[in-house]
Every structure is written in structure tokens, then in C-alpha cells.
Amino acid sequence: MKRFLSLTAIVLVLMVAVIGCQQAPKVLKVAVLAPLSGPVPTFGVSTRDGALLAINEWNAKGGVLNMKITPVVEDSQCTPDPAVNAANKVINQDKVHYIVGEVCSKASIPISEIANAAKVIQISPTSTNTAVTVDKSGATKAYIFRACFIDPFQGKVGATFAFNNLKAKNAFIMFDQSNDYVKGLAEAFEATFTQLGGKIVGKESYDGAKDTDFSAILTKVKGAKPDIVYLPDYYNVVNLATKQAKAKGITAPFMGGDGWDSSDLDTKASDGGYYTNHYSPDDQRAEVQNFLKAYGAAYKDDKNNPKVPDALAALAYDATNLLLTAIKNAGADNTDKVKAAMEGISFDAVSGKITYDAQHNPVKGAVILKVTGGKVTFNSFVAP
């Protein structure tokens, strides 16, 4: 027991010494919470890369408010428990005042409660669930923002486009029952489409984390003979489903949301498909082209070619830029001021000009992209 006590004492002394020696240099810490492991590591890596790119660019320009920006990257696994731990850790141990993340709503929601209580600004690049920025009584969480559309907007844009421009009258909806993003888009699409006078000829759910074989659903699609199939999932599911649909001889075009946006989208299988997105790489705006160039220079794929950013990288980049611009506008490392600056921001992001509404959702336009001939091309722009 004595030995144990003396050991403890030594460790304690060491610890105090180490802590005491710490000097706080002028740095601004920004936490990046991303699912680097767990079910969707690929989304986490894209998000982290996009956010770090923005931070590095700001640092190259001399930081913000004369402070160097230090990123604190944490793995939040797209799962509530680790996300809560990661958020608690960056807030309490690293004393971070700004969080960029998480990707998944189910991780962002518990983080937002912690961040809001601790008056830490959180800006989620891609969590589309309305509950991220709004609490259960309907009040806006003061310190929480997002950089993406919420579900209803994208689904609405998609449905309107399908009905008015593609003249689709019958739609079939396929959605992932366990993914709130996909489910939200599907519900919004259904509501708008039926409101416009279209008919939903079938609605089938699958489990995106588990299913790779969509034959049974596609057989139903074939039987229902829709004009369009709405599949607002991520590109990995889209690749699987569209390829199997082609093998089943289904010709109705597929349509989806920003989850489709990836250099890994199988353009051959999804040929003829449409999707709503935040921006088009064809867009000649300087923000877009500079971003594409910078991203390609910073990250290479396995063949050492410049990597093409996906929607997650673009939104993480935007979210980080929004945050840092707001800090600059606020003029101080003070979350109350930054929060006010965020609310009044008008920022030209890669995904369009962003302003915030009362619920801290960005007001921005959407573009509709078409997959043709192995390429993704710009089709039309939809104002907010």
C-alpha cells in the first residue's frame, strides 16, 4: 500500500508539473468531429479532408484574427456514444469553442445538445435532420448551425423537377429505413409529388447498412412501371441499385439527392439519372473552381491523380469557411459574438451564397445534375 501511495504521489507531482508548464500560445482551436471509423469511414475522411483544407488555407493567409488555427480531429464513429465522448473531450479537455461536424444526424444531435449547453458553436456540414438545430419544443438551439439543406428542401426540389420538367406522373420511391437523411428526402419527395398531382406507385424500404441485393425491390419496380424512381441514398447504394436495375431491364430514370455526388458514382449504371446537389463542378464561379483546384492539389487518389471532392468534402469545406469568416467578422474569439456574426452572415461558398434563416438552416439554391454518357452535367439551377 505504501508503495502504491508513493507511486501515486510521484505521478501526481509529475502531472502537476506537466500541466503547470503548459503555456497557452495564441491559437484558435477548431474541432473536426468526423466518423473516421464505424460504419461510414469514407464519409468521415472526406469531411475531415474538406475541413482541413479550409483551415490550411486560412493558416496560409495568416490565420484568423492573428491567431493560428489548430485543428483537433476526433473520431466520432457516426454513433451517439463515441460522438458524445468526442464532443465532451474537445470541449472539456481541449477547451475548443468551435466544432465542425458530425456527418450523421444521429451523432450530430447528441453533440448539439452538449455544444449548445456549453455555448460552443457547432456547425454540422451534412446533418440534415431538423432536430440538429431545433430542440424538441421547437426552439432554435442558439449555438448550432448547419451548412447543408434540410431534408424538405431537397426532396421538394427533386419532386418539382421530376413532375414539371421530366413530366413524370408515376414515381416509385426506394429508401433506407434506417437512415434518417434518406428517409427525410423520400418523405419530402412524396409529399410534394402527390401535392403536385403525381402518383406514388410504390414505396419500398431497405436497410442501406446491410443490403446489397435489391432484386426483390427492383422486381416490384419493374411491375409498377414508374416514370421515375426516386432513390435519395448515398452513391454506394445508388451504384448497387442502378446496376441491378439495368440488369433487370428497368429503363425509368433514377433520381436522387446530394448523396449521389461522388467521383465514385458509377455513371455507367446510373446513366440517365438526375440528382439535386449544392453545386456543379462545371460551375464557373471562382469559389467552385478554386476549391476544385485546391482540393485536387492537396489530396491524391491511389493513382496519384488529383482527387475530385464529393459533396461531403465540399460541405465540410464550406462549413469551416463559414465558421472562420464568422469569427473574423465577429472580431473576437467569443462564441456569443461569433454566433451573432453567423446569423448575419452572407457568404459566397462553394455551394452557393449562404445566409441563415431563423432556425439556423442555410438559405441557398440547389442545382440539378444529370448523368449522361459517363459524365455528370449541369442541368438547371433552382433558387431557394
Binding site: G44, D207, T212, G223, L240, K246, K248, G249, T251, G272
Partner: protein, 376 residues
């Protein structure tokens, strides 16, 4: 909570001769469930037989994929009584090996590259076989390494320690593979050594041209479906032959029956176990390649669910039994496909597992399982 609960007749050996009372209640319950399921299926068969047949075919494809993995599970389990959770990840490595062989080295075209005179068709067949062989070899080596490093030292430890190690190996392969410089965490579109084509049947067999619709109410199938079907049957026959007719097969059966005695009979049990792991992994590699060609999207966690389903299939068929694994896999495939089509898509897994539990209740060691003589 009753403290001295009334207990199943099977447990109290005295009443074995007499017919247990009230047995009709439980049987009636099962019969009602079975009749309901049969009603759903038959009514749908009557409604649209072609669509029904199509769903059966789709289920068959799924089942054959499970079968390829399940065989490895069941062999390893039969001998070392270990649920080798890393098996699904070996399967994943097989898929990735073939992906790199094809996309980076164009291995599927080697005959044509070396001998330009060879007809394209033969070159493709030989090349594809080379890719598959390479994947099988890589998987075999990987499995032997895993066995040596992780399982062998634990052979005399409690069985659960090896199980936890297996889970650890599985995590390791998934997340080490997900590192940027290994396989990367992305969902990668798979570059297939040959194109998949689909056909439909309507008074003959017609190919489906991509982007064109096929007539309604026809049955469609693809070349990869045929390959998977043939491969799983061949593998099944080969393993049957191996286990029943060869010397090593006899050794395997002996080792699975009683290891110490097998050792006394001069069988090198360690080598037999390594061999079992190797052969299971080789066919997992084959399965991985075929799976990747069929579904054309790979990532590092692709093995988890097929692996799990395959294991469930192996259990359903009676774990340790080769034909059991095959039949179990086919049942799992049909259960999933038909449930998805005619009962409820979201409840698919729930229904599949309910079937499993019911089958186990009726036949506690699976369909082909041997009655539990030893305490498993």
C-alpha cells in the same frame, strides 16, 4: 417468476415413452404459423407465377453467395468448434485482391498481352481464372497467417478466448484495411474482369441491352448468376469428395470427432487444422471475387453481413455439415428474397431469424445436424 419452472419433457427423461400431454398446443401454434406463411406464398404464386419465379431465382443467387462463405464457416467449426468471425473479412480481402489485380495490373488480360494471337474469349477466361486463383491464394495465405498468429496459441485456452480473438482479427482487418494507404475507406466501384450481361426469357433467350427495357412479365437472369450457381455447386461437390474420399478428408473427420484420439492415430492435427482454415479461406476468396463481380461495389466492411448471414445459414443447416451449409444458405436466400417480396421489406431480417429460431426449435441441431451427443 416461477422458481421451479415446469420443464420441457425432453429434459425429464422419465416421460420419454409416454406422449407428452398438451403437445398439440405447441404443434398447433407452429402449424398456424406455417399455414399463414404457405398461404402468403401460394396466393402470390397464383397471382403472378412469373414474378414469383423471378423472386425465387433472385433468392437462389443470394443463397449461392451465402453458400460459398458458409462452407468455410462450417468446415472450420466442424474441426475446431470456433466461430471464425474473421472469415467474412477474408472474403473481403479476396474481393480487394482481385480488384487490384484487375484495375492496377490488368491481370485478367495477361494471356492476350503475352500472346497477342490468342482469341479474346479464351484469354478472358484464362485471365479471369488467374485473377480468381490469385485471390484464392492470397486468402489462403492470409488465413494460415491468422491461424498461426491468433488462433493456434489459443488452442488449449477456453473456446471463448479464441472467439474474442476472432472478433479482434475481424475488427483489425476491417479498420486496418480502411486506412488510407491500405484499401482506403471508400466504397470503390469494382472493375470487373468481364462484363456482366443479362438475359430474359420469352420464347427463347434474349440479351438485355443496357438502357433498354425488357418486356414485362419475363424472367431475367445474368451470366454472373450462372457462374455463382455453378461455382457453388462445384465447390460443394469438391468439398464432399475431399472430406469423404481423400486421406486428408478422413484426417479432418477424425480430428473433428476426437482430437486426442486422432493424434494417437498418427494424424498431425495441427496441420489438418491449418489445412482446413486454408481450404475454407480459398473458397471464401472465390466467393469474394464472384460477389464483387455480381454487386460491383467493394469496401472494407463488405464481409460483415454476408459473413454473418452465411454463418446463420451454416447453423440453420446444422453446423459442421457440408450439405447442411449448402441447404441452409439456399433457405436463407429464399427466406430473404420471398419475405422482401411478399411479406414486408423492413421486417426481412426479423422474418429470416424467426424462421431460423423455429427451425432450431423443431430440430435443435439444424436441418442436417447430428443429434447433440457431445455437449457442444
Amino acid at each position: 417468476m416461477p422458481e421451479k419452472s415446469d420443464l420441457p419433457a425432453a429434459m425429464s427423461g422419465i416421460s420419454r415413452r409416454r406422449r407428452p400431454p398438451l403437445a398439440w398446443v405447441g404443434n398447433g401454434f407452429l402449424i398456424i404459423v406455417a399455414v399463414l406463411a404457405a398461404y402468403v406464398l401460394v396466393s402470390n404464386l397464383a397471382k403472378n407465377p412469373i414474378e414469383f419465379l423471378q423472386n425465387v431465382l433472385d433468392g437462389l443467387k443470394l443463397g449461392c453467395v451465402y453458400a460459398l462463405i458458409a462452407l468455410g464457416y462450417t468446415m472450420v467449426y466442424g474441426i475446431v468448434k470456433l466461430i471464425n468471425f474473421a472469415h467474412g473479412d477474408v472474403f473481403m480481402v479476396g474481393a480487394f485482391t482481385s480488384f487490384y489485380a484487375v484495375s492496377q495490373f490488368n491481370l485478367h488480360q495477361w494471356p492476350q498481352m503475352l500472346f497477342p494471337a490468342i482469341p479474346a474469349g479464351i484469354s478472358l477466361v484464362v485471365g479471369s481464372f488467374t485473377v480468381i486463383l490469385l485471390s484464392m491464394v492470397v486468402c489462403t495465405l492470409l488465413a494460415i497467417t491468422i491461424e498461426r498468429v491468433a488462433y493456434k496459441p489459443l488452442r488449449d485456452a477456453p473456446r471463448i478466448a479464441a472467439l474474442i480473438t476472432a472478433i479482434g482479427v475481424s475488427f483489425f482487418l476491417e479498420f486496418f484495411g480502411a486506412l488510407q494507404f491500405v484499401f482506403s475507406p471508400r466504397f470503390i466501384p469494382y472493375k470487373s474482369p468481364f462484363d456482366t450481361t443479362a438475359w430474359y426469357i420469352q420464347g427463347g433467350i434474349h440479351p438485355i441491352v443496357s438502357g433498354q427495357s425488357s418486356p414485362d412479365n419475363t424472367i431475367s437472369f445474368s451470366n454472373i448468376f450462372l457462374i455463382i450457381l455453378v461455382a457453388s455447386v462445384l465447390v460443394q461437390l469438391f468439398l464432399q469428395f475431399l472430406v469423404r474420399r481423400t486421406k486428408i478428408g478422413v484426417a479432418m473427420r477424425a480430428a473433428s470427432f476426437d482430437k486426442p484420439t486422432a493424434r494417437l492415430m498418427g494424424i498431425n492435427v495441427d496441420r489438418v487444422i491449418s489445412f482446413t482454415f486454408a481450404i475454407g479461406a480459398a473458397f471464401a476468396g472465390l466467393g469474394g471475387v464472384l460477389y464483387a463481380i455480381a454487386y460491383a461495389s467493394i469496401w472494407t466492411q463488405l464481409g460483415i453481413l454476408p459473413g454473418l448471414k452465411a454463418f446463420v445459414a451454416a447453423v440453420l443447416g446444422g453446423i459442421g455439415s457440408l450439405p447442411g451449409a449448402f441447404v441452409g444458405a439456399l433457405i436463407m436466400g429464399q427466406a430473404e428474397s420471398l419475405t422482401m417480396s411478399y411479406i414486408s421489406t423492413p421486417m426481412r431480417d426479423a422474418v429470416a431469424f424467426t424462421i431460423l429460431i423455429i427451425v432450431l426449435l423443431v430440430k435443435p441441431t439444424g436441418i442436417f445436424g447430428e443429434p447433440a451427443g457431445e455437449k457442444a
